[in-house]
Symmetry: D4
Subunit: 248 residues, 8 copies
């Protein structure tokens, strides 16, 4: 797009339809004004198949509908996070192939054509499932094949061992845990996959809001762990998919 | 002592050597003034074999010598924590049966007559050994039989499994860890012993000073863990010995 | 169970029904897959009489009922913490010998056969009672004889002294306090029992959420104190029972 | 002083030596420019006997000498805090009646004429003495009669009881403690004196820098406690003296 | 009471009605069991006119009524803090001379006989008034003459200057402020009264919950300030009254 | 005003209508009592056109009406922040030229006569708009010409580049951002305008309440940034207007 | 520079020396590769007279010399912050018109041609002078006329009043304070200048590292204050100069 | 190894040399005792080419030599982090192909056979280079092709743009920054590579120890970022290499 625009100017100069000075002014305007936008557009187009994402918190349902309509016209897949059921009902009147994950509040619109690679999502406790589900759906709609292992906490570490064989086949593992947040480090010590650790805000007292979990993960004795923000299941699913795509 | 003092007063009243009012005054003086001291002395005498403890930080060697002399005259065992080698050299000129643990700076004076029960001290990394040693020697001089398992971190959790059989024979386990502090929770999930968790100040960045380790321990998913202050090996050895003594 | 499974394989080898290679594959599968689970099961069976515990927060009543039914079929005693009255009403339609402690939200199902040892639970203020009650019931259902001393704060330290005689008979003391959290340290200075300190979230301003209380307890001048998370009455009751059982 | 200055202007107006405009200018200059200073001087003169205070940290010995010379010319008493021995040596060549308190680094110059009222300074541990001494000397040079009780920690609370009779005679008590900082609250629960609590930076791990001590004091269950900054012995001695002076 | 009890025992010994051993047993029982209580009672009686205080938060109205009835039978004055209007309505059906301060939720029962000394309560902003009122009423019912200066913040420091003359007549000043908490330090720099600083939880962003205010106050450049917990108007009124009483 | 008052006194002295002593008393009263107030009034009058500001949080609508009536009688412009719609409805019955900005809760009364200079308000995300709007309206009613650029976050930094030309024409830029708070630093690195950074409380997990945003801004690598409190759009608009006025 | 480069390409196209495709490639290379750099250079040249700044901490003297030589060849003025005396000695052998401010470690090279506008730098205590000096020299070398007022703390607020007349003439005021950090708010309440607040790390206990000072400043009740990082005198001088330049 | 051991037992059973019971005992011993170790060994052997890592902090040079000798006998590559020059000198007397990176204190021993994939390491400031170098060398010795871009901070964001073309070719980007830590988020907004963010402890005041940098990174508005501990260059290089290896 930008190439066409610039080439046009150059052609006009060649054709003596505009002066060098005029050409410079037109180019500089585009460069300081719109280049960034254009360039990113190009970059975006390289990542075909990536959904646009709408963060629904603090947005009105009607506004969300408008936003989704605009995206949908350009994009086959849409991902909405932190949505309410009312949002889902409104959208489902307007779009087909829509799915609502009610534990995490995720909505997906469109059909995922192809799932490749393997991302495993492991969560420590039942309360961590909403965040794990957000990671799961994000990775899946971005094209990853995803497997999930719910409720495999360190308190009963034997539950982890029986899954190790499967886990070791992943290209990347997302490990979700609140409370003491020990799960990702233990997994990293037992596999050679990169582990994306997601602390959750599940905890109380000195662990309120996930602070103990995130500190544990950042200080993991086992190398091979990196960490996203507390409750950021979307972020974990997103970077896991970027990783999963490598070499494809 | 106090009994003798009070009985004396009562006898004097019986003998009419002092009035009821005088007796009351003498008793009340003793009660508000010295009772506590007397009473505690009696309590102390019940715990025969407990060493007196000298915290050496910020104390001059000469002063420490004086303190130890005073204690030694009443007590067969003395425990000194956070001592320097110079302290050891000075004391070793004055006392026999003295031992210096140079990694932790602990000094013991006297022979432990009897060791009973079993306290296990497990430490996660080489850097945690000074604190683990402080716990070890404290528990031992307080009469516990102590076994130690150095360098059994969660990063290589298999090292823990091979020791589980032995660990499960303990009456109480002291688990020492810095960094992510995950060790005590994992042990508690695999044994049914009470676990005293000791966070150490080993760590950097967000784990500086042991804050990540202590939060992990306080938020342990596995029940059966309680926690002492960061680097408080002495405190862990002390309460472990109190526990170990139960039912003896 | 695992022994039977392995012995079977070995017998098949001996009988030449399977090859050494096949036997190895069957063993390795069991080891990497299910060993942990089996092993823990055996460990669990050694601790007969321990209740299974259900943490009810964020769980639906109907789900809780299903979980309890499953546990109850294998276990005589069930402990539920942080339960609502509606949970109690639903469960009481399904189970006998059920009891609801409404201040702490604890439910117990089943009859405790035997109570032994002595655990004392001391709480500083009226507001600390819910947490103290959680500790009390947990210790009791795990088989401890428990005595309680409500509302014995340091502000009126004389109330503590009159109970000292009784307290000193305990095998382990649970001390529950919010605000300045000074109670456990004072008790540890006056008895030779191990003290499990439970900070509560009672407090305001700089003490909000129990932070002042837990710091006081972790820094107790008197040795013999270890600490659980803020408001973790269950955790305190649990480790106190592990301790109480020692030597029985 | 200011009165004389203003009255002079007014007299000059009355005498027609200056115009109303000139008088206004002279007054306004004094008011916006120097009034504050003058006024404070007057206020200061009402507090006869208060020493000027020099905080020596980060000041050169030579500079301190100059400052003290200036103060000494107007004031019989000088108080220096956080001084080094070299400061003392230099000053002692220039001033008589000089005294150096080496544990706290306090220097006093001049003789206290009169000591009245009673301020008691109680400290919990040996390590708290430097701060307690700073409070002691500050209160004394500000004219208070001061009594000291070193090393009366809560870990051995009986030591406190034997001093209660004396403590209750104080007009105000300064209670100095590090670690768990429990002492001031216990004292306030046992006396009806106002208690000025001084947290010290003595502590380690979660108590590093005095944070546990100050939180305990601010959240004291017993009313009658107010708190100064960590290690601020001077501040405690100062306000205790202001209090002690009331009604004299 | 205790004197009568002990004297009785002594008289019985004198009369040979009991042996020295029996007397000792009776005394020791009283001492370890009930002395503290008795002693404190005596101490309490020395502080005639002090009200009993009921902290109403988390207490049922019916329970509060029972508590107040018990207190009222022994005490002419009762102070209730953090009360609701429903509490007031219930109590006002049972007691005369009752007053409700609705901004702070304080209730007083009984007539203050005598007010003496002068405590000034200064508050920085309109939002700080509830806490200031709690301090005001507490000081008043404890027998202090109290004057109040609402809404005198540092942002318009001139409002403070016009009150300085009056403020300087106080025996003690309570300064209440949220946000930047600068007021108490400014007052201490301009008067020679002891200043009790009360940070309030008024603030937002980095000042949320009063943290900025309390840090400012603890670090006041001007000496003569000590600090109570955030929002602890009661505590400030209490210690101010203890101070105000000195020398009366 | 004050000049008139003082000159009057001086004239009376000159006229011998009052004595020097009387004159001094009258002056001193004015100085210690009301000077500050008078002086500030004069200062205020120099800032003609500045609106009075009413912070509506925790104020009753009826009270706000009274306050606004008082201000309106002296001032053409009134600014109300953190107002509710009910406040707006009540005020709109009483005042003309009133406007309600419902996203930020700002109300303005009166017509801004003149807007000069240029203040640009840039906000990073949709959620930051309420705070940005508060800054916008504050700056505008204080007389600044204001331009706004909503939703220009660092995640899509190209959107910023297309606005750089316009931004560089500002006399001062207000940059509003939550989450990672990176916007102000990037702007400061690309322009030579002073940047007032406003962190917002938009964020979750480790960014809860705006803490990550404010730390980023305070530690900006690019010089030319200074920071106001989290969510303090009013404060940013206020200082930006003070700056914008310079040299006018 | 960039204009010349682009115009050249365009001219070559016009002259048919290169094709449109070639021209596009040359332009795009410049845009994605070096535009930013070029553009900023142009921007820089607009700010004639701004010094380049070298932050010397952690840099070798020899390296600093090389850096300064490079800058000096393009720039008349150089500013170095956090320099050592050894740096000064080395540089003074190589450059004329060099000046070392030893309290702050600032070095300036070159002569400031013109100083305009008025920036006032006020510092609260003697210990704050190094940071104040850094602000002072930064503002001055950036072309501001700067006046300084050392040691005007809030503890003796009268010292501030006598300077108010002068302060009010400033275009912008830099207020530097540690400890309670109250100075900037008080100044903002008494002037209508924008105030750049600089917290310093002077403080101890709860004020360690400047945390109390910065919180006070961010929560200032008086509007008109914005804040830079703790000890960031350079940053304050820099933004003050950007402000001071407005309208020149 | 373990296979051989187990197969041996099975063969012995087949051969009737041991009974089924004996075989079970031998297997169970191996499983509970040494399985973990064996299993991990096998896992390790799958990751051929991974170096063993020695963390040198707090280790004696002589001890390090012993450790390295042991590793070297089994492993072609050794990586040492946080080493001193003295360590390097000692090791270089014993090993060939040794290299010392003095800015980061990293030592490598052995020749990397093959470098594949592309990891880019970008650092924001000169002070961040030591950490960036640790990441660089770790990634390289683990077999990654690594490119580095030093000193590309957000303050001069144009420097980043000219490198974007190259950066976008990476399989994974490591972004290292202290101070405001804004770099990783900006990179993630401009590329579609996974970004491993490394906060460094470079900073002062509110950014001390890297706290501002890590919070910025965890709260990055741009998805595609995950974070390791402050100063953990090794951890970033390690996980980047795990990622880089995917699909090879």
């Amino acid at each position: 797009m930008w190439k066409k625009y610039i080439s046009n100017i150059l052609q006009n100069i060649k054709n003596n339809e505009i002066s060098v000075e005029q050409g410079y002014q037109q180019i500089i305007e585009s460069v300081t004004g719109e280049l960034g936008f254009a360039e990113v557009d190009i970059a975006r187009s390289l990542r075909t198949g990536f959904p646009e994402v709408v963060f629904c918190l603090n947005k009105e349902d009607a506004d969300i509908l408008e936003i989704v309509k605009k995206i949908k016209s350009k994009n086959e897949l849409v991902l909405l996070t932190r949505a309410r059921e009312s949002t889902y009902r409104l959208l489902s009147e307007n779009f087909k192939e829509i799915q609502f994950y009610n534990r995490s509040g995720v909505i997906t619109i469109g059909t995922i054509k192809q799932k490749a690679g393997l991302v495993s999502v492991v969560s420590a406790g039942t309360s961590d499932i909403p965040i794990a589900e957000e990671a799961f759906v994000t990775a899946e709609i971005m094209g990853s094949k995803v497997e999930q292992y719910w409720d495999i906490g360190v308190a009963g570490i034997h539950r982890l061992f029986s899954k190790l064989g499967n886990l070791r086949k992943s290209r990347v593992i997302i490990a979700v845990a609140g409370m003491d947040g020990a799960l990702p480090g233990v997994i990293a010590g037992l596999t050679s996959c990169p582990v994306i650790a997601v602390p959750t805000s599940i905890g109380y007292g000195t662990g309120t809001g996930g602070i103990a979990a995130i500190l544990t993960m950042l200080n993991s004795c086992a190398p091979g762990v990196s960490v996203v923000n507390i409750d950021n299941g979307f972020g974990a699913g997103y970077i896991a998919s970027l990783i999963n795509r490598i070499g494809m």
